[in-house]
């Protein structure tokens, strides 16, 4: 159990430190393009992904770095990708919004709001066809919850009884628009009833709540029980406020005596070192060149 707790904290801390560093580096102008940060929602992706393995696939969002880290994508390759380097997970051709590692079951962060849920119906269908017991998890934000793709995917997953989990990360804002205005129902999870699937709401600052709800949904899906919609509630810009999921996790686990302050400090130090190395390596790595421009459009053409 303490190993799981250590792993959960290590993943959440890696996401937090990674994102804080990307924020700093982005401000220097050295990182090209866009970068949408996941800091604050660490408990969501970590609580879900700790239940998953290679047979399971996930689709991330615009704010996809956290999903990638939680699904086990190499952090150094991710940082190099964000810097547009040849050593990046996509050799500099994807960038922040398109980090992917299909070998790890990560279908990519996604630059299209609501792009992931239909794809996850497909990975879940493949798992069902191949009888692997695998599940597909689509993460999406409160903005994507209003996209037809998400609602179509929920319906198809229910109709085909797919092992698919839909995780709505409701942080209160789609870009700058409040979900209390843009989401017509009181809760995103209420929409599950319209598709005849279970819908639950969990506290996104509480790793244990997410972990438990996800475990139940994933277990049911693996056994042929079909899809679930989980709404993970958090608040954007909350990292310094009371709602910090890392602080809460740490306090609870120290309180229970399962891990001690030095255990956490050790992980913090390891992660800080990893992120520092990732940034130095990324900055030193070569950029792609003309010979990379036209490769990898097709398998064959």
């Amino acid at each position: 159990m303490t190993d799981t707790l250590r792993e959960a904290y290590r993943v959440m801390r890696t996401i937090r430190t990674f994102e804080e560093r990307v924020r700093e580096e982005f401000a220097t102008g050295e990182i090209p393009g866009f970068a949408h940060l996941y800091a604050g929602d660490e408990a969501s992706t970590t609580g879900v992904c700790l239940h998953l393995g290679d047979r399971d696939a996930i689709a991330g969002t615009h704010r996809g770095h956290g999903h990638c880290i939680a699904k086990g994508v190499d952090v150094k390759a991710m940082m190099a990708e964000i810097y547009g380097r040849r050593t990046g997970s996509c050799h500099g051709k994807g960038g922040s919004m398109h980090i992917a590692d299909l070998s790890k079951g990560l279908l990519g962060a996604n630059g299209i709001v609501g792009g992931g849920p239909p794809l996850i119906c497909g990975t879940a269908l493949a798992a069902k066809q191949q009888n692997t017991g695998g599940v597909g998890v689509a993460f999406f934000g409160d903005g994507a919850g209003n996209r037809g793709t998400t609602l179509e995917a929920l319906n198809l997953a229910a109709v085909w009884n797919l092992p698919a989990i839909f995780v709505a990360e409701n942080n209160g804002y789609a870009e700058a628009t409040s979900s209390t205005w843009s989401v017509a129902s009181d809760n995103i999870a209420d929409r599950a009833a319209g598709f005849g699937v279970p819908g639950v709401i969990v506290d996104g600052f509480d790793f244990f709540a997410v972990h438990e709800a996800a475990g139940e949904a994933i277990g049911r899906a693996r056994e042929g029980g079909g899809p679930t919609l989980i709404e993970v509630r958090s608040t954007r810009f909350s990292v310094e406020a009371d709602g910090d999921c890392l602080k809460r996790f740490r306090a609870r686990v120290i309180d229970s005596g399962e891990l001690s302050e030095p255990d956490f400090d050790d992980i913090d130090a390891e992660v800080a070192k990893l992120i520092e190395e990732s940034v130095s390596a990324a900055k030193a790595a070569p950029k792609p060149t003309l010979k990379d421009l036209e490769t990898d459009v097709y398998v064959s053409y």
Binding site: C90, L102, S103, G122, T123, Q130, G136, L156, V297, Y298
Partner: protein
């Protein structure tokens, strides 16, 4: 052994043979449980239990699911009945399937086939008659197939299913009941290799999809006036076999392109630009493009007949280039 079967039967046979050959092949489409709207999946459900899936009318979810499954070891063939409804799932095709391999630095294979019906001629009006293959041809990462007869349809569909890239397979609605000789055995036709349907030395006619047969009618008529047309069926608009087209224009010196797609940025303009740039010295006359006017497809039979390219229009264009004097 070859027999005479319809374009529809050729497509069904290709699906059935691939379903039997490769367990990773799955088929999905609206009304598949009773044979599909196009009647193409008739009889497949009981033969391949659990692998021919009925779907709701949910283009994004269905096409997205086909794409997602393709990244996880399946070879899905999704049927999206009318190409006109593609707008409902452009995102999944353009932003997901087409871009995975490049965006992910070469670490993706998405062997998905999207079969769809296009074209005018059945009085189906503006929202059920378009030729949208140029839109897909425009997108890097997609392959686009436009089979012109039953033989082509079977061989190209089997190739599409075995291909490791996303393929948009465009079936002309007026071709389903046309018949032709098709071998019973499985075979493939490679992409990017045009078919020289008819040899001729006076004018090159490049025609797409159903227009290949229209060009054939025109060529017969032209022959009676002593004009021998060489007809080229590109088979795939992406990849495009530029070499065969340029070689042909190299010896005929004259080009007519026949395309049923709307005239701006269609295959006729694309191929004309290619030839104008690469074979300018060989041209003995301006290039002629035979395409519909820049209007939606009209409903009334009187108007639709005027709208569509036909043998007479191709004949006039061919004569114009052959008779051209500087």
């Amino acid at each position: 052994m070859a027999r005479t079967i319809s374009y529809r039967e050729a497509i069904t046979e290709a699906l059935a043979q691939e379903l039997a050959r490769d367990e990773s092949v799955i088929v999905m489409g609206g009304d598949d449980a009773w044979g599909g709207v196009l009647g193409v999946t008739k009889g497949l459900v009981p033969r391949f239990p659990g692998r021919v899936l009925d779907t709701p009318i949910s283009e994004s979810a269905v096409v997205g699911a086909a794409i997602g499954a393709a990244t996880r070891g399946q070879r899905p063939v999704a049927e999206l009945v009318f190409i006109d409804s593609m707008g409902a799932c452009f995102d999944q095709i353009f932003n997901q399937a087409a871009k995975f391999r490049y965006m992910f630095g070469g670490n993706a294979r998405t062997p998905v086939v999207i079969r769809t019906m296009y074209g005018a001629g059945l009085r189906a009006a503006a929202q059920h008659s378009q030729c949208l293959y140029p839109i897909f041809t425009h997108i890097p990462g997609l392959k686009v197939v436009v089979p012109s007869n039953p033989y082509e349809a079977k061989g190209l569909l089997i190739q599409s299913i075995r291909d490791d890239d996303p393929v948009i397979f465009c079936e002309h609605k007026a071709l389903y009941d046309t018949r032709g000789e098709v071998p019973e055995d499985s075979y493939t036709i490679p992409f990017g290799e045009a078919n020289i349907v008819r040899d001729g030395g006076d004018v090159t006619i490049v025609a797409i999809g159903r227009m290949v047969a229209v060009a054939g009618e025109a060529a017969k008529e032209l022959a009676t006036s002593g004009i021998e047309a060489e007809i080229i069926d590109p088979r795939t608009t992406s990849p495009l076999d530029a070499e065969t087209i340029l070689d042909s224009v190299g010896h005929t010196g004259r080009l007519v392109v026949v395309d049923e797609a709307s005239p701006r940025c269609n295959l006729a303009t694309d191929i004309s630009a290619l030839v104008a740039k690469e074979a300018f010295a060989a041209l003995r006359a301006p290039i002629e493009m035979v395409a519909p006017p820049h209007t939606p497809v009209p409903f009334s039979d009187a108007l639709e007949d005027l709208y569509l390219p036909d043998a007479q229009k191709v004949l006039n264009a061919a004569k114009a280039v052959v008779e051209y004097q500087r």
